[in-house]
């Protein structure tokens, strides 16, 4: 569906974002920095899913994006709860 050049550019930018976020997970002084970087990695994967869904003409790509956005929110909430040691 989309031109190969566009898919390559978008996936390259998202891969750059994932690499920088992995560097932050590796270096990050506190657990919060690692959690924020993991959040960014999740968003980059949503973008990659969108590109692959367009490239291979998958019809359910918007359903996948919607559900994964909501699940990412739940995962961030539970990670924040984990950082606080189960307290509120």
């Amino acid at each position: 569906m989309i031109p190969d050049v566009v898919a390559a550019v978008v996936l390259g930018l998202l891969a750059l974002a994932v690499v920088l976020a992995v560097v932050r997970v590796w270096k990050g002084p506190t657990a919060g920095d690692s959690t924020v970087a993991g959040d960014l990695i999740f968003f980059a994967f949503i973008g990659a899913v969108a590109v692959f869904g367009l490239q291979f003409s998958i019809e359910a790509v918007l359903d996948i994006i919607l559900i994964s956005a909501l699940l990412g929110f739940l995962s961030i909430l539970s990670l924040a709860r984990l950082m606080q040691g189960g307290k509120r």
């Binding site: 932050r24 919060g32 920095d33 960014l40 969108a50 919607l66 909501l70």
Partner: protein
């Protein structure tokens, strides 16, 4: 220019712009000094980037049902990324993540009780708010 070409150009532009915003959020994640500025960068930029990518998908693969799904996905993404980054910054403050030293009025320093110390000591709020 025929309509197919216009759709391809606009959709590709939206996709590339969204990916570039996510990449700029990652650069901010490396270069910004403390947890709170990093959380701000991710919460705004990643929410906007994913919203633009969803808009690009809707433009490239247009139908009425896809339009409705895309609008719901964009609204959910904008709301949840803002709330998620707020919750993360709050958890970081409660577990004693240090703000950068140029954070001039730290208005929460008097009222925050770090969550990691609740069980061990019944301390006065504010006496241990400088963090671990």
């Amino acid at each position: 220019m025929n309509p197919d070409m216009v759709i391809t150009v606009v959709g590709s532009g939206l996709l590339i712009f969204g990916a570039a915003i996510i990449a700029s959020a990652a650069i901010g994640l490396i270069r910004l000094p403390d947890l709170y500025t990093r959380t701000s960068a991710i919460g705004t930029a990643a929410g906007l980037g994913v919203a633009l990518i969803v808009a690009g998908v809707v433009v490239m693969d247009f139908s009425a049902l896809n339009l409705v799904k895309g609008i719901i996905a964009i609204i959910a993404q904008l709301l949840t990324s803002a709330i998620g980054s707020f919750v993360l910054a709050r958890a970081g403050y409660l577990t004693g993540s240090e703000p950068v030293s140029t954070t001039a009025p730290d208005e929460l320093a008097d009222q925050a009780v770090p969550a990691t110390k609740d069980s061990s000591s019944e301390s006065v709020p504010g006496s241990d708010a400088e963090g671990v």
